[in-house]
């Protein structure tokens, strides 16, 4: 036997050898019995071997890099905790943005983990199956890192203590929860397009990039660290999302209308969920990075524009109502923050009226809308506060059947009038906040006629009682601590003590 010195294999060859030929054909069960979810959505795949992995990351390299990310991340988190990093935040109001993030978004990381585990089992192609399994592990890692951050802040601040319990019950958390429930109860291909493409590729940049940059700017090392560590996986997820869509469109022309419908649906659903982030950026970061409008222009209009131009060769169009969403970017954060201000008694984070300086920043960033429509609203409430009549909305709001957000959004082109859309299905009336949500309802009325709408559930007697107090206790909110205004909250009191101590030391 002679030894032949061989050149080291290149990455592409190495990757092919390590990832291909691992699958097998079932012999004593039919393929459709092994992959029961593969066909009912109507997607046609002729040749799974045409799948191209965007990143050539083998499992050994995956473990190596993930381990290094984890070592770095936990060193920083530990150091943040050891050095009382919470005292170095720009202002205590900042912590409310993180309450919303950790109670609203972190549980979605877990949902994404479950969803990709399911897809990783049920997609018949070996390439995407391996990629989905990696993503499933990533998502589990993300939620773990976020729980570590939450655990630290929970030692000092209110509103974190029952994040899992609240995620399944609280009215505004039903918005992100129902988004993922919707995706996870769809078939594996729709889930892949919903989360892998529409959410990861088109929209998560808006969540993780400017917002995490905001965390960096506001002294929140703990969040920046998990945020950017997660985002390093996100780039891999994004490329997986784009590969999925190209693969489906290349496999069969009949896939196009199905995929287009999913892209339209999940773009709109994602846009609605991200309204929470719009409000975090424009109102909840004490030191601002960029406005929601600016972030939308960079990450949707510019980046999404190039992407959809690239996908046009398959006949895929820019998501329906992208123009409406772009126009809404001038209103979204203001309409959402106004909603939380008036329902502050029922939220597990604090609210406040923007200061005069913040209002000037908003005028500058939103020259066509803020002074005309939203500044007067805050001025009215400021007058009411001054008279000792802080405005609380004491009735429950009408909710959209699809996005589950209170129906606060206005008619396109008419910011003075709420948009009401209704559908009839089997003798029942259903209300939606927009043409985007109504189209989604009309596409699958059977699904959305089962929506668990928090307001209706309260009326049906399923939420602990009829009074606001009963319901909030059922949510496990600590009344007077978790909810109401920032001014006068235990969080604020603690912060003031820290700052006073700092003053004394500075002499």
């Amino acid at each position: 036997m002679t030894m032949v010195a061989k050149a080291k294999l290149g990455l592409k060859q190495r990757y092919a050898l390590l990832t291909r030929g691992l699958d097998w054909e079932p012999s004593y069960q039919s393929k459709s019995a092994v992959y029961p979810y593969a066909e009912f959505e109507g997607i046609k795949i002729h040749d799974w071997s045409k799948w191209e992995d965007p990143f050539r990351l083998t499992m050994d390299a995956y473990w190596k890099y993930q381990a290094e990310k984890e070592r770095k991340l936990y060193a920083v988190l530990d150091s943040f905790a050891q050095n009382n990093g919470q005292m170095g935040l720009s202002d205590v109001r900042y912590i409310n943005a993180i309450k919303l993030f950790l109670t609203g978004v972190s549980p979605l990381e877990y949902q994404a983990h479950r969803g990709f585990a399911h897809v990783g089992r049920h997609i018949p192609g070996v390439g995407p199956r391996v990629a989905a399994q990696m993503q499933s592990l990533d998502e589990l890692r993300h939620v773990q890192t976020q729980i570590h951050t939450l655990s630290h802040y929970n030692k000092f601040f209110d509103g974190f203590h029952e994040w899992q319990h609240m995620h399944d019950r609280v009215w505004y958390l039903s918005v992100p929860k129902s988004f993922f429930d919707d995706a996870r109860t769809a078939g594996p291909f729709e889930y892949f397009i919903a989360i892998g493409f529409a959410f990861e590729y088109v929209l998560t940049n808006l969540l993780f990039v400017p917002f995490m940059s905001g965390a960096a700017y506001n002294g929140d090392l703990a969040t920046v660290t998990f945020g950017f560590s997660a985002q390093s996986d996100e780039s891999r997820h994004m490329t997986l999302g784009i590969e999925v869509i190209k693969f489906l469109l290349e496999q069969d022309p009949d896939n196009l209308p199905i995929v287009q419908k999913w892209v339209d649906k999940w773009f709109w659903r994602g846009h609605r969920v991200l309204g929470l982030v719009a409000m975090m950026m424009d109102y909840m970061l004490p030191k601002k990075i960029m406005s929601w409008r600016e972030a939308w222009d960079i990450y949707f209009t510019e980046a999404g524009g190039s992407l959809f131009e690239d996908l046009a060769r398959y006949g895929l169009k820019v998501p329906k109502y992208a123009d409406v969403a772009t126009a809404e970017a001038d209103h979204l954060s203001h309409q959402n923050w106004s909603t939380f201000y008036q329902y502050t008694q029922a939220a597990a984070f604090h609210t406040w009226l923007p200061t005069p300086q913040e209002m000037d920043w908003l005028s500058e960033k939103y020259p066509t809308t803020f002074d005309k429509h939203y500044r007067p609203r805050y001025e009215m409430w400021a007058e009411m506060e001054k008279e000792g009549k802080r405005f609380y909305n004491n009735a429950l709001p009408q909710l959209c059947t699809v996005c589950q957000i209170p129906m606060v959004y206005t008619e396109p082109g008419d910011p003075g009038t709420i948009a009401f859309r209704t559908s009839q299905h089997k003798g029942e009336t259903y209300h939606c906040c927009s043409d985007g949500c109504k189209d989604i309802f009309d596409g699958e009325p059977e699904k959305y006629s089962q929506s668990w709408l928090p307001v209706h559930q309260i009326f049906q007697g399923n939420c602990g009682g009829a009074s606001v107090e009963d319901v909030l206790k059922w949510y496990r909110m600590n009344l007077g601590a978790d909810n109401l205004d920032q001014a006068g909250s235990p969080d604020q009191k603690l912060w003031n003590e820290w700052m006073a101590a700092r003053q004394r030391v500075a002499g």
Partner: protein, 90 residues
């Protein structure tokens, strides 16, 4: 509309030589700095060369180490032993 490819990296000690290599090797690349991150945009395509990064850090560098510093990107990925590329062309 110009078809911009983009890469966003953390603004860290590990990423700075990569950022430097990209800006030097890709004429016309535009660098935007935000707190904690650096976003580099370029029309059409953008490439990170292994040799260019190695010459800056004085050790072997695997383009897959980008996974440790990357925050986001836009464009189709092409990855090999000696480079990591993003492009909208196909």
């Amino acid at each position: 509309m110009p078809r911009i490819v983009s890469i966003t990296l953390q603004n860290t000690d590990a990423a700075r030589p990569i950022i430097e290599a990209i800006t030097e090797d890709n004429p016309g690349a535009v660098v935007h700095s935000f707190p904690g991150i650096v976003k580099i945009d370029r029309e059409g395509s953008l490439t990170v060369h292994r040799a260019s990064v190695e010459s800056r850090i004085g050790r072997d560098w695997d383009p897959q180490e980008l996974h440790l510093s990357i925050v986001s990107m836009a464009g189709n990925v092409d990855e090999d032993d000696d480079y990591f590329g993003l492009a909208w062309a196909h």
